[in-house]
Structures are given as structure tokens and as C-alpha cells.
Symmetry: C2
Subunit: 608 residues, 2 copies
């Protein structure tokens, strides 16, 4: 060992001990004939004191930042203590030292508030990883990993590894493929998830499986996506939805406790997909704050159990509302005194292309009990009050109303709600609110392809009461525009998403385990029998030999860590992430390969 | 939940309890009006008793093997107990049941001694996995996984995930490559190991890293290789070889204790590579038994510290020995009375193409003190005795002697020793003997390519005392035939292999951490500066910024599990293995991909 102790463990009680430390030079401070060096390692920082004799050696061989240093000396209690670091009571009076390795001047400072930009830090990721801020993230990641494994182990789950070189069965996302040299002309695919394997393990009787496992999707990368990402992947047999929910809220609560020391004792809230869309405008609502949506108009036939409140706006001859498919209001607390400049800025905000609305209607619920609106000429104060009351606005609140086509408007009002929540400080990093979203539609309809698409994935079971509906109806639709009238449009999935602070951190479902139903599902997705057998013959075959009822869930491990770390970026929680073009700029990968590799793989480029 | 208990947990103390079980029908036994069913799940087997009423239902819907059954009833203490299974004291008097899923007749029996051949079982792997023998293997694998993680965690190691989509830098083994759609014409590679990443993590200061991680090698698959395999991958900073050895024998001892309840308290033996080759004929000797090699001739200049015993055979005018480069004997205990038929069979055994020797000389050390040999006409009994004594043969032993070219002969005698050890029952599955093999040569010489090859890998450091030799000599050799005279031929690596029962279960090294030395290594391997920078620029760059001394090890997780499970086949310890052509016969992967995928990836086939 190059050291007797780490740079984080010495205290005043060690005074007088002879010790050897090894680490990196964080700072060098010369005071006349003596030099102070802060020596850093993974565990902390310790101050080294080099007296006159040793100091001279620095004249010939000056120390620099990030040099690797081994130093032996005596632990001294400091007269001038530093209460900011755990080792601040002591310093090492160095008697001998050795420079283990030199360092060029780093391209950015190794500090929490580094001067390095994103690109530079990614190129020199090995230096970026030295920064405390990044180290804390990876430590948190490991703590989550450990806590999840411990919980699952104690619940009887087994970690079983599934293969990475599998078969390409593109459904939804694109596969990464791997040419097989030994089977020329054929390709493996990298798994988008171990979905079918974990189901096979249930068929095999391993009734509680888990894995913390890399998955791969070749998608165009949006801001915070990675081509390779990690899942906590779980599956159980002989369970119903309720068993899964309770097992896995247990998992997350256990992670909260172990990693953040948070006792999340309250029950996890539950919400149907329809309620989530109706009341929050999206399927992963952030329930740390209110501002529920007031649906002033109900769009055609999507929300079967809901009633809009169009009486509040009808008959005013306000064309914008009258002609809109959807009109939705939210009450923003405490903003009634927004200036013209502020309401104009909000209007511009909703008109940005990312939001895409044509305008914004507001009602100020003044603290004196009066109401003032941008549509005063259409609505009397009494009517404004009625709308504001329905939106649950109090005196001092600002009601914001958007109108337009259903999908865009609902999405816009959801974004607006989140934005206002953020601006008002209602979305606190250190507050954690879990939510189960349930009863998703089983299918979406792809009007272009004129076929049903599985909202979750093709292995998700419908609600037990709707299995008959699924089996007994022909999925084919003659007139795509009328898909909402097809019985499949109302089939709900036995699926569930776990939402944390407005982020989907996990999702899963009770699976189909009957061959007939699975075939019906594949058929609904437009797969003929030949394609079904080619792609999923092994699974359909497995269902012939005693498949048990089963279900599971997968958590986005990167995302979960990011949220627990109070960050919005998963990249900060991945040791070696890729950029938005899927490149590792440190390695400079992907890259060209040798001619010999092309020959052996029997492929060639076909660049456009 | 479909069950209140598993099929493994009910005991006589549960008598009278109302319970519900769910599982698979192992056997159905009809006795007149009643039926006994053995219901199986991951946890065990419980006997179900169906009385007259329920029994009738089977007439219409007969139960079959592997049906999935849910049964509710009362726990009864059996009069006729079965002491062979933990639940043998009870049975369930079934009051109601439900067939959760039917099963076709399985293509082989789900039993330890199944009637299914290898191919059939691989095709229906999901059924094969139901067999107890396979389940025990996967349970053992998980136990090893868990034990390793716990040990490493408590030693301060952090699990840090490294990327799977990296850069192709083929050195030795072939990479699997992945075309990048977003970067047309470029490819990722799948990692052969996280080697460079774990070294970067040391540069980053994470001084104790581990991962249980999939690795990939596109090699022609020998009997017991897989294109994807799992490593326990570890690295430490600020350590010397001794620190690594003690840390990781601790790991394996901890696994022995947790998984097999074996207290491996004795010190792990150590042996230099030269001793291993000299005394056992290979670099991973099985030291569960003796039969050390007697080197009757020393080959030219390989074993620098050794002396052969050619005086024992010289001057007899026996051409076979006189003309051979190498002559090696072993003493096989207790076999002096082998018949002519038996010695002939051994002679045939060594003449097989896999062994490739021309013949076998033997000396019988008879129990009456006489010696009898196949070369009596060249060697007097006195000389035979001298050879036998030098081989450490006792009365009753059989000395076997092989002669020929060094490499082939040494390998052959090693194989012969292992074969005789096996035949004599000296290689016991339940005996575990660990061994460190140390001081490997740093280089091998590739006479064809006329260049040095790193025996371990290009990141392995030479012994500290030989760094100067490496730096100060030009690696280029004009005359390849004289490579043994080059100073590089005698450089020993700071590397170590852990051997268990004759299998290399782990290997590692102290790494190079100085840019100059690393460049010298790359140059020795025939890489010019441009190639060095293209392939390993990031690593050379990292060594500029304060790289600490570091080293590590990687264990072959599949192999380790197989040996602990008393098996020679890693395939038995992998849930979904591939066959010798790299195929997953269950999935039927690899397979062709769609035209659209080719187009998007901008590649095409170029089949020969």
C-alpha cells in the first residue's frame, strides 16, 4: 500500500501518529520558507505542511495542481483549525515525500464551480469525475443500486442475467444490431429491455426475478436520453396488480430510507390515467403542488367518465372559446397583481413553437374582490367570478385559460402549470411525492398506419373484465377516422406507472400469459401469423407449456438517481455518458473500423 | 396473490390451516376415486389430495404434467410420511382448485435425469430451466454474485457502470461491432472488458471500483466459451501486487464461506510461472494432487532458473530421448501393475491428434523392488531405478515418460498428468485448492508477425526493477529467430492469475501508469504513434494528468460458478447460453434483419 490512511480519516485523536498519505494536490500555498499542500483523494482533503528543508526541493521540482503525491509525516493538531472539513483539526508535518506522478495543467479547475464548459468536461471526463459534485452523484447511484438489491434480495428476488446478443424484433423503438461473423448475413440485436426473457423466467418458475441491467435504444436522442441506459428490471409470478404495487412502492420507500434517510410512511397516491390527463394534462403529474385543470369544454369521446363545464363559457359569443375543441383553465396562486409586462411575457411563452398556442386568456382575482380579465368585453364580472371559483381560484390568484385543439391545448396547459409551479418555487428538489398512475388505455391508434399500437408494449394484459372484448372483436378497422368507436378504444390495460415529482420513474404491467390472447394482441398490431412466429415464436411456444400469471415493472435507474440527486439531467449520474449525437467525445466513438473487420463480417458501407 | 404459501414451506405445524398454493403439476397419481398431485414451484413440492368430488372434474378436464394449478385446502399431517422432501410430513386436502393454464406434453421430462438431449433442452430452455439441477446452478450463481458484492462493498469498493457502446480497438481478440445510424459509416464496439474505463476511474480517484459485468469477444468458440460472458471486474489505486493478492484471496475465501460454507483458512499457495510450467507443464496447475514433472532434459533458454537432469538418460544411445528437445516423466501412483492392454491404451491416448505424441515410455516400479520398462534394452534396472527415484516414484507406481519438441511435449505431459489424476479420482469436485501463479513473462513473441505480443494485455506493468530495461532497449528485432536473446524476452510482468483446481478463475496485473512506459509498450506491440493516438489517445492523455499507481483483477464469473458447482461446463450456469456457433437456438438468433434496417444503418451485405 502506498498509504496508511486516506485523506478523509485523520482526526485530532491521531495526533503524534506517523502516517503516510497518497493523493492529488488540490492547492499549493507558499508562505516564505514553508509550503502548505491540500492533498485530496476520494475520501477527503488533508493539509500537508512542508518545512524549510523539504521546501527547498520544490525549487527544482515545483509541485503543481493534480500532481500525485505520497507524503509521510506526523499528525499535528492545528492551532488554526478549519471547521469546514472533517480533517480540519489536524495537518501532517511532512518528513518525506515522493511525487508519484506529475500532471499537466488541467484544462479546467477541479472544483464544484468549475470553469470548464460541458464539451471540455466531457472530453476530459476522467478529470471531471474528480470533481466533488460528480463524485457525489456516482456515490448516490451506487447507494441506490445497493439499497435496491438489498430490498429485492430480502423479498426473495433472484438476480438472473439475461443475454445481450439477442434477436432483432423491432416494435416501436429501433434496435441496435450486431453483425454475426460466424453466421454471415445474420445479425444479433442488443436488448431494448429483457422483457421476453424475464417472462420466460416466469414460465420457468423463477417467480421473483430482478436485474440492474443495461438496455439499448437506437433513437434520435432528445435532450436527456442516452442510447444505453440502465433499468432496475423486475418480474413476479402468481401476482395481481395490487401485489406489484405494494411490492414496488416498498422498493422505492426502502431506497428513500437507505439513500436519503427519508421515512416515506404515507400511502402512495393513486390516480387513473383518465384523471391524470383530465386534472393535470399529462400522464405523469407532478403532485407536489395543486393548480388542477378546470376543463371548460369536454373534447369528443376521449374522457368517457368526465363532464366539462362549458356552461361557464357558453353563450358569450367569444369565438376563440366557442370554436375551440378544448378550453382549460388553471388558477395560479398569488399572481393577480402581475403587470401587463408579466402577462404579455406569459402570452409570449405559450406562443413559442414548443408550446404552440395562439394566445392566453387571463382573469385576475384581485384581493379587493373584483375580477379583471383580458376578455372583459365577453364576460361579465359575475361570469369571470364563476369561472375563477370553478378553477378553485382564491382572491389574489391569477386564472390562465388556454383554448384550441385537444391534444395541443392539454399539453400546453400542462406545460404552463409546470412552468408556473417552477417559477413560484412549488417544485422543491428536496420534496418527494410518489404517485401510481393506473388504468392506461391498452391501445393507441396509428391513423397513418391504420393499425393499433400497444401503448405500453405488446405483452401487457387488458383488464381481466375486458379480455373477452379483446378476444371476441375483430381488430381491423375499415374507416380509420372512426377508431374511437371501435370496442378496442375503450380497453384499459392492466398497467401502472410510478411517477416521482412529475417524472415517470417506473412502469410495468400484468402480462398476457395465454397464447390465444397474445396472438390476438399481435394480430391487432398488424402482425400476421408468419411474422408472429418469426419474431416471437419462442414466447408463444413457451405459453403452451404452463405459463403462470405474472407481471412486473422496470425502473429507469438513471432517472431515479437524477431525481433523488435533485437534478434534471441523467447525464450527471452516468460515469461515461454520450452526447446528443450518441458520441462518446472522450473515446471519440463511434469510429471507423478496419477493412479486415468489414471483410470478416461480410458487410460493407452503403453511404447515401 | 394467487397463493398464501409456496410449495416448499408447509410443515406439520401448519396442520389444520387453510392454505392456497399455486404451481406446476409434477406428477398425477390416481388411486381409484382419489388423486394425488405433486405440485411444484421454485421452493419445493407439496402433495395435494383430491377427494372423490373433485376427482370427478378430472374426468372431463384431465390434469397433465406441467399444468399450472391453483389449489385451496387444509393442511393435513400425513400418516404415510415422505422423509425425502421437507414438506413430506403433510399434504393438502384440496377443497377447490383452478387450472390457471394448461400445458402441452413437454418434449422431455422435467427431472434431474431428464430424457432430453442437449439440443432439445436448449431449444426449450424455458422448460430446461424448470429442472432442479439447472435451478440449483442459477441459485448458486446468484449466491456467488451476492457474496462477491457484499465482500467488495464492505471493503469500500463502488460499483460503477462503464459503457457498452465503445470504440473498436482490436488487440488480440476480435470485437463485436455495432453500426451507428446517427454517425453513418462509423461503428461502436462492445467491450471485451472494461479495462481502460476502470483505469480511467483510477485516474479519476475512485480508488476501489468493481462491477459484475457482461463482456464480449467475437472468437471462434471452443467447447466451453461463450461470445458473451460475465466478469467480476475490480481495480484499486495506490496498491502494489501484494495488496491485490491479499484483497482478492479474501474475496474468494468469502465466497467459499458464504456459498459453500467452506472455511478456507490456509494461506493461498503461490508459484511462479516458471515453476508452474516446469513442475506441472502448464500455467494453471491443478494442485489437488502431486505427480510433479521430472524434467529429464532442459530445453534451450526458456526456463532460466532451472536445471534438467539429463545425466539420468544420457549415454544410453536411445535415439528417441537423445534427439528430443524435451524429455519429461511423471510418476503415476499405484499403477505398476497395469496390463499390456492398459499401457497400450495409454500409448494410444497420447498418440491421439489432440495430444500429438509419437509414443510413450513407461517404467513399472514393481512392489517387489524390481523395475520393468518398455526401454529395457537401453536402460539397466539401476538406471531405471535412478529415473524413477528422481520422479519421486514409490514401489507400486508407474513412471510415464514423453519425449519430443518442448511446447508439444510439455503440454502433452500436462494433459497426461491431468488425465491420470482424473482416472485415479485425485481431482475431487468437493475439494478446492487455490493457487496464485506469479511472474509471468511480460511478452510473447509472434514470429510470424515479427513483433512482441503482450501476454496479459498492453496495460500490464513490468516488474519495477525491469522498467529501465524496457525503456532503454529498442524493441525491434532484426532476426526473429533470435528473439530469445532480446532483453525483452526476460522481462517479467507484474501480473498474477488465480487458479482454482486447475482452472484460471481470475487474472490481473499492476498497470502501467506512466505515459512514456505505455508508449514504449504500444511501440513494442508494433503500433506507431498515429495508431496509438487513434486507439488509445484518451488513455495516454489521462496519464498526463496525475495517474496514480494502480492495479486490478477480473474473475471469470461463469467459470467460477461452474467450478463451485462441481461442473466443467459454464453453459450449465448461464440462464440463456449460446451454442458453439454462437446461436441462441431458442430465439433462433442471430437472424436476418429488415431492408429498412440496412437502409437506416447505411450498410449492406457483402457475402462471399
Amino acid at each position: 500500500m502506498y498509504r496508511t490512511h486516506t485523506c478523509g480519516e485523520l482526526r485530532a485523536t491521531h495526533s503524534g501518529n506517523q502516517v503516510t498519505l497518497a493523493g492529488w494536490v488540490q492547492t499549493v500555498r507558499k508562505f516564505g520558507a514553508i509550503t502548505f499542500v491540500d492533498l485530496r483523494d476520494r475520501y477527503g482533503i488533508t493539509q500537508l505542511l512542508f518545512g524549510e528543508d523539504l521546501n527547498k526541493e520544490f525549487d527544482e521540482n515545483p509541485l503543481g495542481r493534480e500532481f500525485v503525491l505520497q507524503a509521510t509525516g506526523t499528525v499535528n493538531e492545528r492551532s488554526n483549525k478549519n471547521p469546514n472539513i472533517p480533517t480540519g483539526d489536524i495537518e501532517i508535518n511532512v518528513t518525506s515525500f515522493k511525487i508519484l506522478n506529475k500532471s499537466a495543467v488541467p484544462p479546467f479547475t477541479i472544483q464544484d464551480d468549475t470553469d470548464g464548459g460541458d464539451d471540455l468536461r466531457m472530453k476530459y471526463r476522467f478529470l471531471d469525475l474528480r470533481r466533488n459534485a460528480v463524485k457525489r452523484n456516482l456515490e448516490l447511484r451506487y447507494a441506490v443500486n445497493r439499497a435496491a438489491r438489498n430490498y429485492l434480495h430480502h423479498q426473495g428476488f433472484m438476480d438472473i442475467e439475461t443475454p445481450f446478443l439477442i434477436k432483432s424484433t423491432p416494435e416501436g423503438a429501433r434496435d441496435f444490431v450486431v453483425p454475426s461473423r460466424m453466421n454471415p448475413g445474420q445479425f444479433y440485436a442488443l436488448p431494448q429491455s429483457p422483457q421476453t426473457f424475464k417472462q420466460l423466467l416466469m414460465v420457468s418458475g423463477y417467480d421473483r426475478y430482478y436485474q440492474i441491467v443495461k438496455c439499448f435504444r437506437d433513437e434520435d436522442l432528445r435532450a436527456d436520453r442516452q442510447p444505453e441506459f440502465t433499468q432496475i428490471d423486475c418480474e413476479m409470478a402468481f401476482v395481481e396488480q395490487e401485489d406489484i404495487l405494494s411490492m414496488f412502492e416498498g422498493l422505492i420507500k426502502s431506497v428513500f430510507k437507505e439513500v436519503k434517510n427519508i421515512d416515506y410512511t404515507e400511502a402512495v397516491e393513486r390516480m387513473t390515467w383518465e384523471d391524470a390527463m383530465w386534472n393535470f394534462g399529462n400522464d405523469k403529474p407532478d403532485i407536489r403542488f395543486g393548480m388542477k385543470l378546470l376543463n371548460l369544454k369536454k373534447p369528443a369521446s376521449v374522457y368517457t367518465s368526465k363532464q366539462g363545464q362549458s356552461a361557464l363559457i357558453d353563450g358569450a359569443d367569444f369565438k376563440v372559446f366557442d370554436e375551440a375543441e378544448t378550453v382549460i383553465a388553471i388558477a395560479v396562486p398569488g399572481c393577480s397583481e402581475y403587470s401587463r409586462k408579466q402577462t404579455d411575457e406569459l402570452t409570449e411563452w405559450v406562443k413559442r413553437p414548443q408550446i404552440g398556442m395562439k394566445g392566453l386568456v387571463f382573469i385576475k382575482c384581485n384581493t379587493d374582490g373584483t375580477y379583471k380579465s383580458s376578455v372583459d368585453k365577453f364576460y361579465s364580472e359575475e361570469k369571470l367570478k364563476a369561472i375563477a371559483d370553478a378553477a378553485d381560484a382564491k382572491a389574489g390568484d391569477l386564472v390562465l385559460i388556454l383554448a384550441g385543439a385537444e391534444e395541443r391545448t392539454r399539453k400546453a396547459v400542462s406545460e404552463l402549470r409546470l412552468e408556473m409551479g417552477k417559477r413560484l418555487g412549488l417544485r422543491k428538489d428536496d420534496e418527494f411525492r410518489l404517485l401510481w398512475v393506473l388504468d392506461f388505455p391498452l391501445f393507441e391508434y396509428d391513423e397513418e398506419g391504420n393499425r393499433w399500437v400497444a401503448r405500453h408494449h405488446p405483452f401487457t394484459s387488458p383488464k381481466p373484465s375486458q379480455i373477452e372484448t379483446m378476444i371476441n372483436n375483430n381488430p381491423v378497422i375499415e374507416n380509420a377516422a372512426e377508431y374511437l368507436n371501435h370496442p378496442y378504444a375503450n380497453i384499459k390495460a392492466n398497467a401502472y406507472d410510478m411517477v416521482l415529482n412529475g417524472n415517470e420513474i417506473g412502469g410495468g404491467s400484468i402480462r398476457i400469459y395465454q397464447r390465444e390472447l397474445q396472438e390476438k394482441m399481435f394480430a391487432a398490431l398488424g402482425m400476421d401469423e408468419e411474422e408472429q412466429l418469426h419474431k416471437f415464436g419462442f414466447l408463444l411456444g413457451a405459453f403452451e407449456y404452463g405459463a403462470p400469471p405474472h407481471g412486473g415493472i422496470a425502473f429507469g435507474f438513471d432517472r431515479l438517481c437524477a431525481i433523488l440527486g435533485g437534478s434534471e439531467s441523467i447525464r450527471d449520474f452516468i460515469a461515461f455518458p454520450k452526447n446528443n449525437s450518441g458520441r462518446d467525445v472522450m473515446l471519440d466513438a463511434p469510429a471507423t473500423i478496419d477493412e479486415k473487420q468489414f471483410e470478416e463480417l461480410q458487410i460493407k458501407l452503403n453511404l447515401k
